[in-house]
Amino acid sequence: MEKNSPNASSDKDAPVSDGVPAPEGPANLIDTDYVIGQDNVTTRRFGLDVDLHGKVFTISSLLILFFVFLTLALQDQVEPIFNAIFAFLTGNMSWFFLLAANIFVLLAVVLIFTPMGKIRIGGAHATPDFSYLGWFAMLFAAGMGIGLMFYGVSEPLTHFGTAIGGTSMEDGVRTDWAPLGAAAGDQDGAMSLAMAATIFHWGLHPWGIYAVVALALALFSFNKGLPLTMRSVFYPILGERIWGWPGHVIDILAVFATLFGLATSLGLGASQASAGLAYLFDIPNNDVTMVLLIVGISAVALLSVLAGVDKGVQRLSQLNMVLAFLLLAFVIAVGPTMAIATGFFKNLGAYLVDLPALSMPFGREDANFSQGWTAFYWAWWISWSPFVGMFIARVSRGRSVREFLIAVLLVPSLVSVLWMTAFGGTAIDQVITDNFQGVKDAALELQLFTMLGQLPLTSITSFVGIVLVMVFFVTSSDSGSLVIDSITAGGKVDAPKPQRMFWAIIEGVIAIALLLGGGLTALQTAVITTGLPFTLVLLVACYAIIKGLLSEPKG
């Protein structure tokens, strides 16, 4: 572990010589008069120190309260509104999401191979704060850990079902949900199409989205000297205006998306984990169990944010990586090992072959799939990107751009391919070879456990599965609280501890309120609609990355 990097330490035991030392830091910091924290309110109330960005903290807190109240009080009224906005976005704007996501992936891939890949985040002499293993574990846990647990089995299986079912038309419009041209009655074709489509949603594109946000933030913070908040990405376009309202709005939107994204997925996740517990251990699946789960997860997250990035988030992420790896190795070993081994390369090949067709923004015949699945996923990943991107940026100082992109884009994509091949492939194999329909018929949150139920040592693997789900929630919750805390503190990462505790607690409280009062799905829909404004933010981030990298010193 390389914490407390010695790069910047200047342990000079010799007497300090006369004269002011010459500047040795990167010479191309952005020249601004803005002092980080100058808009902050620092005070002490009830024995607690406070250091907050007045406007961002106050308005986002009020906005969050308002939305919680709105959804609780007027649930039946707001839900159709959110749904209508969302249907409009995925229906009419799907081309925009698909096109934008392609741009992000292209930029990220191209940068790996350009000389700009050599530029180091934090300046030429910066050294990494975390080991490769710790770094990668955190990237993965923040990025999609929890999703892989829920969709690793169900998504390949769903696409397999629709693909093999073939296409159906009504009034010249496709009514089926199959990807591309389907593979009617063709088992092998349907399987490879299903895997390609799933990997497409969990591969280069989501990670390209995260990579763009994270790289833009990291560059403008560590190399250009701007605060670590979303607004800094807009500096190349808005200049000094980012310190005013345009910047406040961007940051408030990021807090909104992050907090509600976390709270709603914590609430929905608790109901899924509760169903899993009921299935496995006959624990009653009711509100009490769910509330206890949220309280438990929030409590561990609270301890973790107090322990900090290094001793809290990193350790939990590493624990999770080990558990996830054991589960993966187990499924590969006792599942259809050969099929998974060959499947990995077959699926990777199928993904690359189908990639151009799947990512085509225009003239799609498979509207249900490209709008209902792909555009939905893209909006979802993008609405998560401020949170995941900021967290990735924070832990990536000292990596070169090339190293960063390989670790954030290529490696996780390959892990997704392997994960989907093992979990989805095993489930499809159970359907094809053993004619076992159980997984297909099971509820979404139980599909993983039903699949594991067909393999040996069920009680152990299912228990590991449940623990993984819960720890992934903890790592999302704690890293999310750290991100929200630094945005609402005007980009400071050293704001007093009670503030990060506040956000970790609020997240759990909102999850419980919405779980009991209803409205989790409605609000989650509202969060995903923030994908649209953030797509614009990300396009700006692309421009900012290029501009920022070009202005870095050569050599």
Binding site: K3, N4, S5, N7, A8, S9, S10, D11, K12, D13, A14, P15, V16, V20, P21, P23, E24, G25, P26, L29, V35, I36, G37, Q38, R44, G47, L48, G122, G123, D129, F130, S221, F222, G225, L226, P227, L228, L306, A307, G308, V309, D310, K311, G312, R394, V395, R397, L482, G491, K492, V493, D494, A495, P496, K497, P498
Partner: protein
């Protein structure tokens, strides 16, 4: 009695540090001890400095200023961390070892109820090192 004094400082709160700085200067003079001023700071841009290097320069200048007051040998050391609030205690304990200090003089706040959840840095450092630690209360 003491050969090397380590003084953890936060340049953002210079005004609170005065008692501990004065004490460090007196003891340095008395025992003709070297003094090392250390800071644990974020690796992200902050109010005082946009890069850890810039912070290091400021701390070096600060150490020199202090040296002129007490006339002993001074040095400075900046420890950067992705999460300084959480890593502070361990970073200071590590720095005692790295700087070979035999006395730590640091400012600490008055005991308060919150200490049960978040122990004060000074208290934590004192209970995790075998060198002498002098905790100086600041008034607030």
């Amino acid at each position: 009695m003491f050969k090397k004094i380590m003084v953890p400082v936060d340049l953002a709160h210079k005004e609170l540090l005065k008692p501990s700085l004065d004490l460090a200067a007196d003891i340095a003079k008395l025992y003709q001890a070297d003094t090392c001023y250390i800071s644990v700071t974020a690796n992200t841009p902050g109010a005082l400095a946009k890069t850890p290097e810039e912070y290091a320069q400021k701390l070096e200048a600060f150490a020199k200023e202090q040296g002129q007051l007490h006339g002993q040998v001074v040095s400075s050391k900046v420890i950067t961390s992705p999460d300084p609030v959480a890593d502070m205690d361990d970073a200071i304990i590590q720095a005692i070892h790295d700087t070979n200090a035999d006395l730590v003089i640091m400012t600490t706040h008055l005991p308060r109820r919150l200490d049960i959840v978040m122990p004060s840095t000074g208290g934590k450092v004192a209970s995790h090192t075998d060198v002498s630690v002098f905790l100086v209360r600041h008034s607030d």
